[in-house]
């Protein structure tokens, strides 16, 4: 019961208009986080409507316009093949949005499944799985990612699958600790005593009550995924060119021409930094409002 009082927003689904009230609270109490949310929404829109917004095609080559400094015709300048950097950054946002959302969703689902099962069932099963998670987390994300990509080869599905699994397993700890604290609530014991099945308890009683950490986990994962994907692309093991990715634009052939056109180094990195920064502050604000217990953890 205490949960329901601690976290009034969990009832957001049942109360009409409470989503709007929550957004209002976000803007009042966490203006920086709200600004992050707005930038985050803009990033989403840019990604979704890149085809409409981009003034030029993503791989439209124009040898006459190569390495032009930023101007009104090309706001972010052009690269060594005369491709418009603004358009490429917008299409880069599209790739980032696709990867970020599918991966974060997959990761969250993996976290929920592992976290709920180990947290609720406990016992030997929990012990063994937790030792596995320990071992898994002792590898740097990037190392596992690199090794898997070296086996499966670079490409969009491989990245989504690996990153999803990677972050999912690591995030299961957060879900597990939330489940462990919810598990001891009266309403769970009540459900157990009237003979509700384990599946029903997990689905109807545990899951709805761990929604706040799930939402927070998902948001913070989006930023992590964008950074991880761009690091991978930067190392030449992400989505293969000529598909424009923010990380990929900073490496490869673009790199050799940066000394002639420094704007090539600026635009993709700036996009990346702004979006990750916005996601971080937005995630922090959500966490403070939804799940005060997680404050200070990252």
């Amino acid at each position: 019961m205490a949960m329901a009082i601690d976290v009034p927003t969990t009832s957001a689904r049942s109360e009409r208009g409470s989503v709007f009230r929550f957004v209002g609270r976000l803007f009042r109490e966490k203006p920086l986080g709200a600004a992050g949310g707005v930038i985050f929404a803009l990033f989403l829109l840019c990604g979704l409507f890149a085809d409409v917004l981009a003034p030029y095609g993503m791989n439209q080559i124009s040898p006459r316009n190569r390495l032009l400094a930023p101007s009104l015709a090309h706001l972010f300048g052009t690269d060594n093949l005369g491709r418009d950097m603004l358009s490429r950054c917008l299409y880069g946002a599209q790739i980032s949005v696709i990867i970020a959302f599918t991966t974060a969703t997959l990761a969250t689902i993996v976290s929920i499944v592992i976290g709920i099962l180990t947290g609720y069932l406990g016992g030997k099963f929990d012990l063994i799985v937790q030792r596995f998670v320990d071992a898994w987390m002792s590898f740097p994300d990037l190392i596992i990612l690199l090794v898997v990509v070296s086996v499966l080869g670079p490409g969009l599905p491989q990245i989504i699958f690996t990153l999803g699994l990677l972050l999912g397993i690591a995030g299961s700890r957060i879900i597990r600790s939330a489940v462990v604290s919810v598990r001891e609530n009266m309403y769970v014991h009540a459900a157990q005593s009237i003979g509700a099945s384990t599946g029903r308890i997990l689905w109807r009683h545990i899951l709805p009550n761990i929604m706040p950490p799930i939402i927070v986990l998902f948001t913070t994962r989006v930023g992590t995924v964008i950074l991880a994907e761009s690091s991978l692309s930067f190392l030449g093991l992400g989505v293969p060119p000529p598909t424009p990715t923010w990380g990929g634009m900073l490496s490869g052939s673009g790199r050799t021409f940066m000394f002639q056109g420094p704007w090539l180094a600026l635009a993709p990195g700036l996009c990346l930094t702004v979006v990750v920064y916005a996601t971080n502050v937005f995630g922090d604000a959500l966490r403070d409002l939804l799940d005060p217990r997680m404050r200070g953890s990252r």
């Binding site: 071992a135 002792s138 590898f139 090794v147 790199r255 200070g296």
Partner: protein, 318 residues
Amino acid sequence: MQAYLARRLLALVPALFFASLIVFVIVRLVPGSIIDMMLAQNDVGADKLSRDQLVATLGLDRPMWLQYFSWIGGILLHGDFGKSLWQNTPVRELLAARLPVTFELGLMALIVALLTAIPIGIYSAIRQDTAGDYLTRSFSILMLAVPSFWMGTMVMVFPSIWWGWSPEVKFVPFTENPVQNLKQMILPALILGTALSAITMRLTRTMMLEVLRQDYIRTAWAKGLSEQLVVVRHALRNALIPVVTLIGLQAPILIGGAVIVEQIFVIPGMGLLLLDAISQRDYPIITGVSLVIGFCVMLINLVVDLSYGLLDPKVRYR
């Protein structure tokens, strides 16, 4: 203390077992096609080694469990990580040459991070809600979002355009010329340490704020102690314990970041070894590097746990 240490070392066994299993399984995710991919993607090796030779070298013709035990047995009994497929050098030698370089880079990054983060974190806490506090805090959140590869790229590009200066590419080992080596490493270490310092600064500030509200701090003030004494002797030591934990948690991120920084500045450490091995599909090196990195992270966490006792006399190991 000894019993605790023994138990912790014993607990490393299952963790290492799982870790070796993870590395082993990942590399064999697609057992059939590994060979084809190696032959297709590596022109250098294709004429040197035939398909059957390659299968035999990798031991892929034997059952899976036998492969695992002979691999892990070789490492445990003889420190034998196998040989590089294309250069025929023992992987152990490569690891021994590269590990100190990455260790130096990581250590320097850690020192950089702590030297900037802790003083600024303390300042931010004792001058809470002043302009300086806001400025340093916003800056630290911003630095968290700047990817190290972007910062590295800008450091390579802009000084070169403006002043014609670029970082030295030819690596000088520490044993050959320590001064030159440190000069070369400081920039990569700064970039690697930035993200860590941002997180550490935030946590130092939070913990200091919490500790400064405690009764014993009020007592210290009431005794008429100087600010320096209260902050350093009474508050800092208590605030630092979670910060030390954080350093342990950040170890994997630091090592992962080292891969990127080593690539940008062409530093011949573990990261560059791994990247080169990946581009050549040199699987014995890939498994060796990942296993050693995993083991290092576990050791770092053990050392961090043991260091609590030094920092906090209340902690007794049982």
